[in-house]
């Protein structure tokens, strides 16, 4: 348990898993920021810094995977995925090579670097790829456990990590499982499905609201999504909110909406997400406030839906 960015937890987890000779780590020249550098310092022979060449990196990872290695190909999400659609589709997803794509610096939470570095379409994109598992952890403990779980899972994965420090919300009694959501707090009237940093933001929103009307569910596996839990929770509450630091189109909100539509569960429904626009520079807090992602916006949405 530790207040720290999820990328820090990832870097530490890699070091702890490094005794396994199958673990290899690649980075696209940003390993000090992604924290994969820590692995490189301890296991230099299994660390491949490919320079600023994401396409080469992800295909090199695919080749390594065919020899039985478990490659973690790490980079800033914008470039790791933005530069490599064809490579990810052919050499990883279609070939079903055991590559873990790890994208850090996601969403508006990146802050001041602005829209070129704020990846807001990655969940939409990776969810749409056959064979791909998509996971976004919410804190240190979940990141640590998920990194291990993804190494044990045989198949392509996109692991979505963040830049800013986030609070510890899970302790070691938590058990991460691919495909399973987790009820964090149980309330009576409305359920919030949140992912990543928005779990943290939702917890803040709940402190602003009185009573025990709100249930919070952490959805860390965005694909395959926990359909049973979503159906159960949506059915047992009067209204539904989704919360993600990602574009409105194709992310958690759409994923939950698809489950509800398929199951013909009709509830008042609001998606907290980036409203299909590019943001701008600013601090994380300023951007969350201006672009509708802050705890204030979540609290307001709860009030509106429970009016």
């Amino acid at each position: 348990m530790k207040d720290a960015p999820t990328r820090d937890a990832y870097g530490q987890a890699l070091v702890e898993m490094g005794a396994d000779p199958r673990i290899v780590v690649l980075d696209a020249g940003v390993s000090d920021s992604t924290r994969s550098k820590k692995f490189g310092e301890k296991y230099p022979e299994r660390f491949f810094n490919m320079g600023i060449a994401e396409a080469d990196m992800v295909c090199t990872a695919a080749g390594l995977a065919t020899t039985g290695k478990i490659p973690f190909a790490t980079g800033f999400a914008c470039f790791l995925l933005g530069r490599t659609m064809d490579q990810v589709l052919v050499s990883i997803a279609y070939s079903r090579t055991n590559v873990k794509l790890v994208g850090t610096h996601t969403g508006l939470a990146v802050g001041e670097d602005g829209p070129t570095a704020q990846m807001i379409v990655d969940i939409a994109y990776t969810r749409a790829i056959p064979n791909m598992v998509v996971v976004q952890p919410a804190d240190w403990e979940e990141t640590t456990q998920a990194t291990r779980a993804l190494a044990e899972y045989d198949g392509p994965v996109y692991f979505r990590l963040g830049r800013p420090k986030v609070k510890a919300i899970f302790d070691s009694s938590y058990k991460f499982e691919i495909g399973k959501g987790r009820v964090m707090k149980k309330g009576s009237d409305l359920v919030i499905f949140a992912t990543g940093i928005m779990v943290q933001e939702s917890l803040k929103a709940m402190e602003m609201l009185d009573g025990n009307k709100v249930t919070l569910v952490n959805i860390s596996t965005l694909k395959p999504i926990d359909r049973d839990l979503i159906m159960e929770m949506a059915s047992s509450h009067k209204a539904v909110i989704t919360a993600e630091d990602h574009n409105l189109i194709g992310g958690l909100g759409d994923a939950v909406g698809e489950v509800l539509l398929d199951a013909q569960i009709s509830k008042p429904f609001k998606r907290i997400a980036v409203k299909d626009q590019f943001a701008e520079t600013g601090t994380r807090a300023e951007l969350f406030e201006k672009y509708g992602l802050s705890a204030n916006h979540i609290a307001q949405a709860v009030k509106d839906l429970l009016k």
Partner: protein
Amino acid sequence: MNESQLTIPNTTELEKIALDLRRLALKIIFQAGSGHPGGSFSAADLMAALFFGGILNHDSKNPNDPKRDRFLLSKGHVTGIYYSVLAKAGYISESDLDSYRKINSERFLSGHPHPKTPGIEIASGSLGQGLSVAHGIALGTRLDGYDSKVYVILGDGELHEGQIWEAAMSADKFKSNNLIAIVDNNKVAQDNITKDLKDLEPLEDKWKSFNWDVHRIDGHNMKAITEVLQLPLHPEKPRVIIADTVKGKGVSFMEGKTSWHGVAPSPEDYEKALKELV
């Protein structure tokens, strides 16, 4: 491969094998009604030497041996020749080839390669990725302490893809001398002759400046092919063999023609071509 050393075909026999492979490739492209004869024929002699000339250390009965040499076809569209090679090498049967480019193909003989087909390491068919993948394999086998070599055939038009040069830099950085790229330099791409699309020359200089061990041969001279493939590895540099070839090699009316990049022959052309492939 060592135990079968005595039975390795000589260059004349390899030329005969390459001819058989061309006939088979054309047959399955004709039967499928689509495919890529031009680039299949330019690569035929190179692939015959690799698979049947005692170069590639592989065993179709033990296709997952971690110590095996690897072969990748980065110019993945020329499955006509690739599947013909895999059939002749025993990874699949010749009767499997009847399902080439057909739905419900049991051996997944898709237009472009996929690892569901025995003997195939990874999907290809989107140009530019194979050199990076091959390099990843070269790094992986080296980590395992094996002396496996990784051979990858690239198209010349494929060298327009920037990723090739990313991989060229990487293999130099990691001194991956067990990586051997072969450029099937047939000088003709889909749209136009490669030179007019975007000239690759001076091609040897390009690879040399990336610090590769560069060789250039006539890609249809079996003696030259087998000799260069038998060279000991460079102590630290990755190797590229620029094989000057002819698109559609072996069929006079296909040679050097962009029009034979991606079409199946008509029944008349098929018969005419078979008469030349003897």
